[in-house]
């Protein structure tokens, strides 16, 4: 079961700069475990003890997983998982 995970720019330091990675897993939770195994530190950036962090959005094929089965959302071969973190930036630097 291979799922494409789109990595946003703030997290690419954990994937060696890769913007997409192929991961195994039948649910969002399993894919996050795979991500953690391959790219340590990723799980902590995405989840806390309650689940997905409040300022991170995860989309399964463009649908927010909070409106599906959250971390237990089932994935199938070829699906895409997109991570969208809250980011600032705009007015000054």
């Amino acid at each position: 079961m291979a799922v494409t995970v789109r990595i946003p720019t703030p997290l690419r330091s954990l994937t060696g700069g890769a913007d997409e990675v192929l991961m195994k897993g039948g649910t969002v939770s399993e894919v996050i475990e795979s991500l953690e195994a391959s790219h340590p530190g990723m799980k902590d950036r995405l989840c806390d003890e309650k689940g997905v962090r409040r300022f991170v959005n995860i989309y399964a094929n463009d649908e927010d997983i909070r409106f599906l089965d959250n971390l237990e959302t089932a994935l199938k071969d070829g699906d895409t998982l997109s991570i969208v973190p809250a980011i600032a930036g705009g007015s000054s630097a």
Binding site: T9, P10, R54, D62, V84, I87, G90
Partner: protein, 234 residues
């Protein structure tokens, strides 16, 4: 479109393309708020300014440059920060608010104020090579439906991580497009655009109202300062 008054929060990288586009796209009045000075390092992405503006007040220079660009435009520069104590008053009388702030506390404050003031909000965030732009209507999903609350840790700002000039230009352009669509009477409710300059991709998704969103359910009824400062200090 002539009667529309727009509040623009932030006259920097996102605000520059927004202000330029709105000035030439029929907005009758723009109120712009910022408390920063133009810095040499801004010029690659804050396209409203030139070398001669360096060291001068952003909103002063923004107002002058906009008046030159569109002499018929009414511009009110407000020197300061968008803060809870004055947010609703400042928002009053505007058809929509476009946010181009450089910190998440202000982004959430704009979202809360816009919802409480029943004004559409166009928002965006950019860092390094990508970002998002989002449109919330008073009766649609809001920023808190998307990101729930102000992150309390590990969130880089573009000041820390940097942002590639054209990225804020594209996202500011997307914000301007949202604003113009709203002024034309369209309803891009809950549209969330994701831009990735390295991949060359632009994707659209829709944010749905969360049943437990504290803003949409009316739990947030005011703009208490601690809601924004506590999160920032944490």
């Amino acid at each position: 479109m002539e009667a529309h008054r727009v509040l623009v929060v932030g006259a920097g990288g996102l605000g520059s393309p927004v202000l330029r586009a709105l000035a030439k796209s029929g907005a009758a009045h723009i109120t712009v708020i910022d408390d920063d000075l133009v810095d040499e390092s801004n010029l690659h992405r804050q396209t409203l300014y030139g070398r001669e503006d360096v060291g001068r007040s952003k909103i002063e220079r923004a107002a002058a440059n906009l008046r030159e660009l569109a002499p018929e435009l009414s511009v009110e520069p407000v020197d300061g920060r968008f803060v809870p104590s004055t947010a609703l008053e400042l928002l009053k009388g505007h058809s929509l608010v476009v946010e181009g702030a450089d910190n998440l506390a202000t982004k959430f404050l704009v979202a809360d104020a816009a919802h409480l003031g029943a004004v559409p909000a166009v928002q965006a965030g950019a860092i390094r090579w990508g970002g998002w732009a989002f449109c919330a209507l008073p009766d649609s999903a809001c920023l808190r439906c998307l990101f729930e609350d102000i992150p309390r840790d590990r969130i880089e700002t573009c000041a820390e991580a940097g942002v590639v000039g054209p990225v804020v230009g594209v996202l500011g352009g997307l914000e301007a497009a949202f604003a113009i669509r709203l002024l034309r009477g369209e309803r891009p409710a809950g549209e969330l655009w994701h831009y990735d300059a390295l991949k060359g991709s632009l994707r659209k998704t829709f944010v749905r109202r969360r049943s437990d969103c504290p803003l949409c359910t009316g739990e947030i009824k005011d703009l208490r300062m601690e809601r924004y400062t506590a999160a920032c200090a944490a």
